[in-house]
Amino acid sequence: MLLRRESTEERDEHIDMTPMVDVVFQLMTFMLFSVQMSGGEKVDVPPARHGVGVQESMATFLTILRPAVPGAEPRLLLGHGEGASVNLDQVRKAVALGVKDGRRKVILQADGDVPHGEVLKVASAVTEVEGVTVHVGVQEPKGSR
């Protein structure tokens, strides 16, 4: 009897790793989906049903934010949602460098409230670089999520 009891106690000493592994898997799954969904949330881009997915490593990102005060110029940033403010000449140079690195797509992450003419002005400046295609960033309509 004593021997049997001791063997049972030894078996109980081991820590069951299964729940911990399950929790880790759940956390990883949650983070996997949350990271994908947060891809375009840095800028309040307009919603659209249709669109194509572009990998981050294959494109040069430009962000156009609405002006902080009404009537001011929109802010043009080099990057996705954050980065240094640039003018159109700097945008052309950055896009040209991206084309040399194989990033032939330019994604304009424009806020939905930015004037349409400002977006087209930046797009016209970008298209002066040979071999680029222009995309405007959109997001899934809120009702479809």
């Binding site: 001791e6 592994v21 307009p46 981050e56 994604i107 939905g112 930015v114 797009a123 222009v134 959109v138």
Partner: protein, 437 residues
């Protein structure tokens, strides 16, 4: 002079027929030890330790006459130890002995049961009927009961342990562990005594009664003792040496017996077989692989949803340049489904106002395509209209598969568009959202 068989406990060798002088000389040369076993040559008596025969371990005295050699052990007090000998006596007998042989090791001498015995051979012998005694144990067989009162020097723990080891070796039970001895001791009263072969059972009995009974009473056959009569017919029976244990062990066991659980002894023995704890690395490896997969997937599959738009070219079409004037919206309406968006977000489709919703715009675009066969939408949005309105028109065109053309709007202030001639300014006022390709 009696001859002896000597068993070297360290080498496990047996030497037969050694006389006392040879044994003494070998003992003085440290070729024999206290733990080596001796017995009368040619006899089947039990082995006894050499240290129990002081006459065999005495320093050799080759120069002395034979009678002096025989008298020397007798002259010494039987109950005394070797250290009780006066060194001056040895010097008188053999003044130069210390120069030749180092002084013998001192050890406790075993108390002899009968100090007045005339025999110089003293080792425990059980009287066996029907068997001829050896040449040197004529007196021993008669005093078997007396010699059975063998007393061990309790304070000599080392020699006692050596006895125990030797006895185990003789009994071919070297694998017996100390645990089993403890178990036998704890359950001594419960276990039936075996009458076959050597058994350490008489030893505890002797020790337990040694303090209260006389040597003769110790060997009285009790219910737990061996049946000596059963051995009468057996062929050379040999009696095992009594098991001598450390004096403190028994006292500790007896003192702890009322409080100590029998299972505790077994639990200690079981804990001796420890299992090697190994860390199970399989879950950790699983987690590591999943983390690697997670980072690989997230680093390459972060996709950004986009709408591809055509280049809002600043160059005019060749036909317009050739004509020297820009094409008006009415001209373009023949080739394109014209969608206009004003500054406030109001929409017109082919110059007809429409509700700026996705479903309405898609339905009207589909009808316009089916009616006129135009497959491209021309978006002419005001410069200041919000970007989301233009994206709505893009999305509607993509819904039904229409091509998209974008007319670059005129800025509300600033220089005139490059392709717009100054002479055509009034016409431009009429159509402020005229597209330029």
């Amino acid at each position: 002079m009696a001859n002896w068989d000597v068993f070297h406990a360290d080498r496990l060798e047996l030497q037969r027929g050694l006389d006392e002088a040879a044994i003494r000389l070998a003992f003085a040369r440290a070729e024999l030890r206290d733990d080596d076993l001796v017995r009368p040559a040619g006899s089947a008596l039990a082995w006894a330790r050499l240290a129990d025969f002081p006459e065999l371990t005495a320093p050799p005295e080759p120069a002395k006459p034979p009678e002096t050699v025989q008298e020397a052990p007798l002259a010494r007090p039987k109950s005394g130890t070797r250290s009780a000998l006066a060194p001056s006596d040895l010097e008188e007998l053999q003044p130069s002995i210390e120069e030749v042989i180092p002084p013998p090791k001192t050890h406790e001498r075993t108390l002899l049961p009968n100090p007045s015995s005339s025999s110089d051979v003293t080792f425990p012998v059980i009287e066996i009927q029907g068997k001829s005694a050896g040449p040197a144990d004529q007196g021993l067989t008669a005093t078997g009961a007396q010699t059975s009162g063998w007393a061990w020097a309790d304070e000599d723990e080392n020699s006692d342990e050596g006895d125990e080891d030797d006895q185990k070796r003789d009994a071919a039970s070297a694998e017996e562990s100390d645990l089993e001895i403890l178990a036998d001791e704890a359950e001594l009263d419960d276990l039936p005594k075996s009458s076959q072969g050597p058994s350490p059972a008489p030893a505890p009995t002797t020790r337990q009664s040694s303090s209260t009974t006389s040597p003769l009473e110790r060997w009285d056959a009790g219910p737990d003792d061996l049946d000596w009569n059963a051995r009468l017919d057996t062929e050379p029976s040999h009696v095992a040496l009594p098991v001598a244990r450390a004096p403190n062990r028994e006292s500790e066991l007896t003192a702890a017996e009322p409080t100590e659980q029998p299972e505790a002894v077994f639990s200690l023995s079981r804990s001796a077989t420890e299992k090697i704890e190994e860390l199970d690395l399989a879950p950790m490896v699983d987690v590591a692989f999943n983390l690697v997969l997670f980072f690989m997937v997230t680093a390459t599959t972060v996709l950004y949803k986009t709408l591809e738009i055509p280049k809002p070219s600043g160059e005019a079409p060749a036909s317009a340049v050739a004509q020297g004037r820009p094409r008006s919206l009415d001209d373009l309406k023949k080739d394109y489904i014209l969608v206009e968006i004003d500054e406030g977000g109001r929409m017109k489709l082919d110059r007809e106002p429409v509700e700026p919703t996705m479903s309405t715009l898609v339905e009207l675009l589909r009808k316009a395509r089916e009616r006129t066969g135009r497959t491209t939408m021309l978006l002419s949005a005001d410069f200041a209209t919000p970007h989301r309105n233009a994206v709505l028109a893009y999305d509607a065109a993509n819904e039904i598969g229409l091509g998209i053309a974008i007319a670059r709007p005129q800025p509300p202030q600033g220089p005139a568009p490059t392709l717009r001639p100054t002479a055509e300014a009034p016409a431009a006022k009429e159509a402020p959202a005229a597209p330029n390709f």
